[in-house]
């Protein structure tokens, strides 16, 4: 009469697994994305400080930061504490399935712990009120509302956004007495960060060399192994979690790392932008805002694609201008203030160089081409697939390109 509890999740049955595996082999994803394409991330900030609702496709999480004054641990008497907690029991109906032995909550909690606590992203010393007596205890609660894969990324992004959004009241400690100031007396204080980590998840399948980024629940459950990488905005690795049964070569992991580093940087930029827009909105008087924006269709949506597209446009225009400037001696556009712009450009150039240096240790991402799987197994490839869309032409082009990039590994991989 009832649904078999193990089949309640997509991707757990054998037929679903083989379906996903064969789709991956053909470089096709169920939702039409490319293997390195992410779902759009949307943030909604609540009326209270530190409340963030995040949606990533159908995956939805709610993060809430709260704080109170407590006693520090004896080992670190001059530091506040950060506690992270993920809750998957509520409306997501996940515990319905594998009652007690569910590893999901444990893995999620430990990943968050490593990403935020072990990497020491918060300046905990700034949360100290009186050494070995009173410190701020910051608590992050993440409620999973809906699970459609990639809870890791959703929860780390939501947690980071909530921590960055959060404001704590100011306190003073005079003559053994703590005084907490209300919002009216003193302005609330944001938390201090040392760096901003976010994670990026990849799924690896035995049938394909190309890992899938940002998997859905179906893809995640059918995956042979899952790689989670946390990078901060300086493109430093904070967490690496690789498990599962698929043998993964170093190159794949490095390729994932390269993509993840860039993605993390963009994500942190996106969160910063969203926070700015939220702050602007809060300054407007008599404006109603909060999580009811989720219901309101006309409310401004803080989505990654929308905000970062703008960013890309802004970034490209000065680049183009610079190129034109370099090519022709005569300035094509009469700029109003040429001197400050030149000054502006020089630091930017340096910045660009340094960022390139930052990721110099990472190999260039392999160009994603539809023809790779057909090239890998020429005997099994369907001939009609190669014929239409000029597959052969593409194939020869890509192999040429890869030869040009003088990497031996790439060549061997194709053979």
């Amino acid at each position: 009469m009832f649904m078999n509890s193990n089949l309640f999740e997509p991707g757990k049955s054998k037929s679903e697994r083989t379906f996903v595996q064969s789709a991956v082999k053909q470089n096709i994803r169920f939702d039409g994305r490319k293997s390195n394409e992410f779902r759009d991330v949307k943030l909604t900030f609540g009326a209270d400080w530190g409340t963030v609702a995040l949606s990533m496709g159908d995956t939805k999480v709610l993060a809430q930061v709260s704080c109170d004054i407590g006693t520090p641990s004896s080992a670190r008497g001059n530091e506040g504490t950060l506690h992270l907690n993920v809750d998957i029991k509520g409306v997501a109906f996940l515990d319905e399935v594998q009652a007690t032995h569910d590893q999901r909550q444990l893995t999620l909690n430990s990943l968050l712990e490593r990403t935020f606590r072990s990497s020491r992203c918060l300046d905990l010393e700034s949360l100290c009120i009186a050494t070995e007596q009173h410190v701020w205890c910051v608590r992050v609660d993440i409620n999973v509302l809906n699970h459609d894969g990639n809870l890791y990324d959703a929860s780390t992004i939501a947690a980071l956004a909530a921590l960055m959004h959060f404001r704590r009241p100011d306190v003073s400690f005079i003559e053994d007495e703590i005084r907490t100031y209300s919002e009216r007396e003193r302005e609330l204080m944001p938390l201090l960060f040392l760096h901003y980590p976010v994670s990026v998840t990849y799924c690896v399948y035995k049938s394909s060399t190309q890992p899938l980024v940002d998997p859905t629940l179906l893809e995640e459950n059918a995956a042979d192994s899952i790689i989670v990488l946390s990078f901060n905005s300086y493109q430093e690795l904070c967490t690496l979690n690789a498990g599962g049964t698929a043998p993964t070569n170093v190159r794949t992991i490095m390729q994932c790392a390269h993509g993840a580093a860039r993605r993390s940087k963009a994500l942190v930029q996106f969160i910063r932008k969203a926070l700015e827009l939220d702050a602007e909105r809060r300054e407007q008087p008599m404006q109603v805002f909060g999580l009811m924006d989720l219901l309101n269709e006309t409310a401004p949506k803080l989505s990654f694609k929308y905000l970062m597209e703008e960013e890309a446009e802004v970034d490209h225009t000065p680049d183009r201008a610079r190129v034109i400037e370099q090519k022709s001696d005569v300035e094509p556009m009469q700029l109003e203030e040429p001197v400050p712009q030149a000054q502006m450009q020089t630091p930017k150039k340096i910045l660009a160089e340094t960022t390139e240096d930052d990721i110099a240790w990472l190999p260039q991402e392999q160009p994603v081409d539809e023809a790779t799987p057909t090239a890998a197994k020429p005997g099994k490839a369907k001939p009609n697939r190669a014929k239409n869309k000029g597959g052969k032409k593409q194939q020869s082009q890509t192999t040429k390109k890869q030869n040009d990039s003088d990497s031996e590994e790439e060549v061997t991989q194709i053979l």
Binding site: D48, L62, V91, L145, G290, L291
Partner: protein, 235 residues
Amino acid sequence: MSKKAATNAAKDKLREMQCKFNPLSRSDGSVMYSQGATVVIAAVLGPIEVKTQNLSIEGSYLECNYRPKAGLPQVKERIREAAIRDVLELALLSEAYPRSKMSLQVQELEDRGSTDACALNSACLALLIGGLPLKYSFAAVHCIINEQGEFVLDPELNETLRQQASFTFAFDSVDGNLLLVQTKGAFKIAQFNDIECICRAASAQIFDFYRSNLAKYHGRSAENDSSSTDLPMET
């Protein structure tokens, strides 16, 4: 002057209600419901397999959880849960599915006053959209008596800070019977009767809201369904 008139007018009106059906993909029915700035999500699953310890041959077992957005559920949340469960046990036609479980989860998204009423209303909408058997639908209304002795219907959070008494009533849709009464604070019986009348009148407005939104959802989803069934066929 006009501002004062506006606030006076707001005191005997419900805040604006909004809802969105099935925002969650994993439940049988879910709804995101807001009343003013208070937002909750309710989701139902059922009838599903039940653990042997909860199994009942008389009717289905009802699981009801309310989750706060910060921290673990405390006594306050348990009380709220108990109130929701009491009303649901009256309204659910549990005899229809013996040896099974109905699960209702309510997640608070933002608490800005009258959360009890909001949670109950969202629970009712979730049950309706999830297609669980009900004897009748129900609506809950929250009302307070403020310091000046005025009645404030569906108050904001800052209005509830200084209150003489607070009331939550739930009514059924068929006979208009009282399903739940929660009171706090000191009041006269005449005031209680007055507030009951005010809340009863307001509940009619909520039932209208249910009706119009469900009609709209099903009307629209009929078109959407035909297009969405085509999609899997293509792939």
